[in-house]
Symmetry: C2
Subunit: 337 residues, 2 copies
DNA sequence: CTCCTGGACTTAAAGGTTTTCGGAAACGTA
DNA sequence: TACGTTTCCGAAAACCTTTAAGTCCAGGAG
């Protein structure tokens, strides 16, 4: 808390040069004698001069700042994306202006205006689910990239996890482990994530020429639902040898109930979760095989493509980012665990 | 993505007035005839004019932007604080510039410079633990408030959860439930949180004239450690009727092992956790009685005090924010659950 | 009629930086 | 000496907005 900030004028007069020369010296440009540059740099250090980014941005029209507009930071999904983006930016000299719209369209508009008036160079919009959301980019003077939740407008740039592919990968892993009687428990059908994961499951089963055991069970994304669905499923389809769950919470609930009903995991029933939410997937017993959506990478990628878009090299379309299967004990072959 | 942005000059010339009049009309100031103001407003809407915050900030010296410097956003603790702060700011017209130092002092300095050069009006520093951290505020031209992790310098403004009081509250709850033989499992001793919570436990027990059962067991903040500690504790002190755990993860591990060893929770042993990490505290069975640190409120309070400090009304010192005991099934009296 | 008041509007400066352009000095060449 | 070239530096414009100060005019008071 202190004295007035030094300006380039102060630096120049202390060094005994004009502000133009001081500017050139500080920015490492030509046309400045080495000795003079030295003097300016010393003066700047002496005054602990920090160039005023506002003045600089006003002139150049570039703020080296991007806006991050999220609908739901509190969710588990927005955070890693945010971190990845912050990471990609932080590596350069970018700063991130964070706004949380709390799922409210009015507030979103409000934040959008605030960001635009601050002259951000670009915008990342982070969705709260993978369901497509209304575009925000119409007539905006800056490029926008959507992460996790894609824009409804296919001419926008969006990055989403490849849920379909990941689900197929999970099921193929179960098949490779010798399982043949596979059931599916997942989240609410109005989530695109639920529908995509089910689609992946079906295509993998179809390719293997196998039927799905039982109906797909849809319910909340909770552990409680996992327990409840487990009871129904074990009753209706007692001969299943594997379950693909739409989330780690559901999987954890399933495992708990299955064990209480006398089924061993993974010996009798193999279980695959989704999300790789570590507090669940690594701490439950057995540790869960699960899909990691690589959200941090997704955020980083979105940020990098925003850079590209700022430089005029936009890449329109919905880009599906590959997920990764993390194999743990819940799908080990019988007798191995 | 589009045409050049409109400036107040464009608005003024479209409305047929000078830029000064346009400015006054847009800012709702006096000395403008109603009809003129109408014309200006119409012109601004027509051009979808957004005042340039850079120019405004350059002139006024106020950016209406604050920096949020966190050491570990990925942790569970930084996020709620961040949300609370963002909430308090978002209510007004403030924006938040987010930087994550990833626990690296060099990177922190780097971000600090970046924030300062962007002329933020103030700074919130969010710690990754409640252990005091080096002050960053020396000779800074803007006010700083520390949240969660306090500054080592007592003349700074810091807000931390009242771990001592909360632990005492938790133990008093166990006493009120009729428990008398209480043990303690917690995190690593180099965490101030561990030491504070143990202190709270001791003072509550001392006040009740009761001994602590067994040594305090210190280990990682993990479910695995909770299981391990449970085995040791049940062996060494088989007659305990309650355990106060330093985190929900530890509590969840303890409950699991205790049940495997034939102890019923809460009938034989009551358990209190810490953090109210919902995925654990509400989804485990029985649901955990636990301490909620009200981190979002803490963040909001920190933000409000930063406002005050920006207005010259700083409130130095380490402020301990009250926590809240969330009572669930794991401490019900025997026979009630 | 003059003088004053106050309303409505304009002019100009300020804020901090970058950049373009021109000038001056130093030096080499004819 | 005259001239061209290179090197280093300074003056001034530009970015966009707000605001203090100034201008102009109509209308009321004396």
């Amino acid at each position: 808390m202190s004295r007035k900030r030094a300006t380039i004028t102060d630096v120049a007069s202390l060094a005994g040069v004009s502000i133009a020369t001081a500017s050139k010296a500080l920015n490492g440009r030509q046309d400045v004698r080495a000795a003079t540059r030295e003097r300016v740099l010393a003066a700047a250090a002496e005054l602990s001069f920090q160039p005023n980014a506002l003045a600089r941005g006003l002139l150049s029209g570039q703020t080296r700042t991007v806006g991050l507009l999220t609908s739901d930071s509190v969710g588990r999904f927005g955070i890693p994306v945010l971190l990845g983006a912050e990471d990609a930016f932080g590596a350069g000299e970018m700063a991130v202006l964070l706004c949380d719209a709390r799922g409210d369209a009015i507030r979103e508009q409000h934040h959008l205006r605030a960001l635009l008036s601050r002259r951000v160079d670009g915008l990342i919009v982070v969705g709260e689910s993978t369901s497509p959301r209304p575009s925000v980019s119409k007539d905006l003077p800056v490029p926008v990239v959507y992460a996790y939740g894609p824009s409804e407008d296919p001419s926008d740039v969006s990055f989403v996890p490849d849920d379909v592919g990941a689900a197929a990968m999970a099921v193929n892993h179960l098949l490779a482990m010798g399982r043949r009687r596979i059931a599916h428990i997942t989240g609410p059908t109005h989530y695109k994530a639920s529908r995509d994961r089910e689609e992946g499951l079906r295509s993998a089963l179809a390719e293997a020429g196998l039927p799905q055991y039982g109906q797909t069970l849809s319910g909340p994304w909770s552990q409680r639902w996992g327990r409840h669905a487990a009871e129904m499923l074990l009753m209706a389809e007692p001969e299943i040898d594997a379950v693909f769950c739409g989330s780690d919470q559901i999987a954890a609930g399933f495992v708990e109930t299955a064990r209480e009903r006398g089924r061993r995991v993974p010996d009798d029933i193999a279980v695959v979760g989704y999300d790789n939410w570590e507090v669940l997937s690594t701490e439950t017993r057995p540790a869960l095989t699960t899909v990691d959506m690589n959200l941090e990478l997704l955020g980083r990628t979105a940020a990098q493509h925003l850079f590209a878009a700022i430089d005029g090299k936009a890449t329109p379309g919905v880009h599906r980012m590959p997920c990764q299967l993390v194999i743990r004990d819940s799908t080990s072959p019988p007798g191995v665990s």
